[in-house]
Amino acid sequence: MGRRPELASLVAGLAIVALGAVLLLASTDVIELSFGVFAPVACAATGAILLARGLTRHE
């Protein structure tokens, strides 16, 4: 059967995809990116990666 995905990589990958999607939307002028928008996005992405990594390390 299928292998169980590694949680840390899965969460990190999704966070990076989300970060890239925000950048792509900004570069195509779909959204206007300001620090007020980007700072929470960056913190959320980085925090999700660290959280998933920390949780899986102690499993």
Partner: protein, 412 residues
């Protein structure tokens, strides 16, 4: 108990020296020179100063000292904090101990009751040292901080980065810590170079390409979660994304080049509608420009750096400015911070020149003044030392005196 067990914690020179006891005959009950073995079995293990694993807050230095001296580690922690506040000596000493004192490998013995040094004596010595030495520590600490603090920060940053990347904390002997610090610094340097490259690419117009690269890296990491993990890709992808995002949020690009640009138009025919610079310093001096009555629009677009506009004191200035991160200072009014939107909708009489300034600065500052700042050369553009630009605008008037009405709205 065997001889080997009894002597395991002794220093090598004691075990391997000419006085080393002969090998014990095989078997726990073997006859022979048992008497020395029994004596060794009762002998206390030699105490070593090690960094404690069980009583650690940062690196276990104070815990290890407390164990070694049989004193509550809190005393050493208080002393360390006090020394850190007195010129940073405590930080340096702690880092030195972190590097030089080995971590507890389980062989260090705690001081036996009654065997340890006099607790009151140690406490008194620490307090006395603080009282007597703090002036010297302050001076020496400041001197040492100027020399060693950057180095200590680099080592600490390296260890921290490697800790975050690999999960290997600041434990082990000095060689391990130095190796991890070096590896962490290497990772840090690589990330810095990568961030610069990504920011440069995004600012040069390749922001869409950078965004696609980040998305592809994310997809690869997701796929790796199901197939074969590619964790090494996470850090560079995040670094590239954060760098490109910062550039995009600041809204700066490299159009207009890099460097210093100074403009002193003689008349409105020389005056451009738009002045642009990627990174650097842009100065627009309009004090000797023959400006007509009515509105004179000027647009300034600066990616990162400083934009300065000098206007005659009889010119009204209406300003609309966006600064991603930095400061706007217009004729005594200022606003600073992140995502600064500055608007000063000034109106003027029909026979007065009104400069309609529309500025966009990514990261940096916009300054508008009706008088030169210190370091500005009236006869040229020799602006003197760079730091003189940062001096305040002296007795600059509060407000735009040439305007009839100034309605200011700004946010940041």
């Amino acid at each position: 108990m065997t001889m080997d067990e009894n002597t395991r914690n002794e220093p090598d020179e004691e075990r391997e020296g000419p006085q080393a006891p002969p090998p014990e005959p095989e078997g726990p009950q073997a006859p022979g020179p048992e008497a020395p073995t029994e004596q060794l079995g009762r002998a206390p293990r030699k105490r070593r100063l090690v960094r404690s694993r069980s009583e650690r807050v940062i690196g276990g230095v104070c815990g290890g000292l407390g164990r070694y001296f049989d004193v509550d580690p809190v005393i050493f922690r208080i002393a360390a904090v006090a020394l850190a506040l007195l010129g940073g000596t405590g930080v340096l000493l702690y880092l030195a101990a972190l590097l030089l004192v080995p971590a507890d490998d389980g062989t260090a013995a705690a001081a036996a009751p009654g065997e340890g040094r006099n607790r009151a004596l140690v406490i008194a010595a620490v307090v006395l040292l603080l009282l007597v030495g703090w002036p010297f520590l302050l001076g020496g600490g400041l001197l040492a901080a100027g020399i060693f603090f950057p180095l200590a920060i680099l080592v600490g940053a390296g260890v921290l980065v490697w800790w975050l990347v690999s999960g290997e904390g600041p434990s082990g002997d000095v060689g391990d810590v130095a190796k991890r610090a070096a590896l962490g610094l290497g990772v840090l340097i690589l990330c810095g170079l990568l961030a610069i490259a990504a920011a440069w690419a995004a600012a040069a117009g390749g922001d869409t390409v950078v965004a696609v690269i980040v998305i592809m890296a994310g997809v690869a990491v997701v796929a790796g979660a199901f197939l074969k993990p590619v964790r090494w890709l996470i850090l560079p992808a995040v670094v590239i994304g954060l760098a490109a995002g910062t550039v995009s949020a600041a809204g700066f690009d490299l159009d207009g080049g890099v460097g210093e640009r100074s403009y002193r138009p003689a008349s409105t025919t020389d005056l451009r509608e738009r002045y642009e610079l990627g990174i650097g310093e842009l100065v627009l001096d309009l004090r000797d420009t023959d400006l007509p009555s009515g509105d004179v629009p000027v647009e300034i677009d600066l990616g990162m750096g400083s934009a300065r506009v000098l206007v005659p004191d009889d010119v009204c200035v209406a300003t609309t400015a966006e600064v991603g991160m930095g400061e706007v200072r217009v004729l005594g009014h200022s606003n600073e911070g992140i995502d600064v939107d500055y608007e000063e909708a000034a109106s003027a009489a029909g026979d007065v020149t009104r400069l309609v300034l529309d500025a966009n600065v990514g990261i940096g500052e916009l300054r508008v003044s009706d008088r030169p700042w210190d370091g500005f050369d009236e006869h040229g553009f020799d602006f003197g030392p760079r730091d003189r630009f940062d001096e305040p605008f002296g007795d600059e008037p509060e407000g735009n005196l040439a305007c009839d009405n100034v309605g200011e709205t700004s946010s940041g």
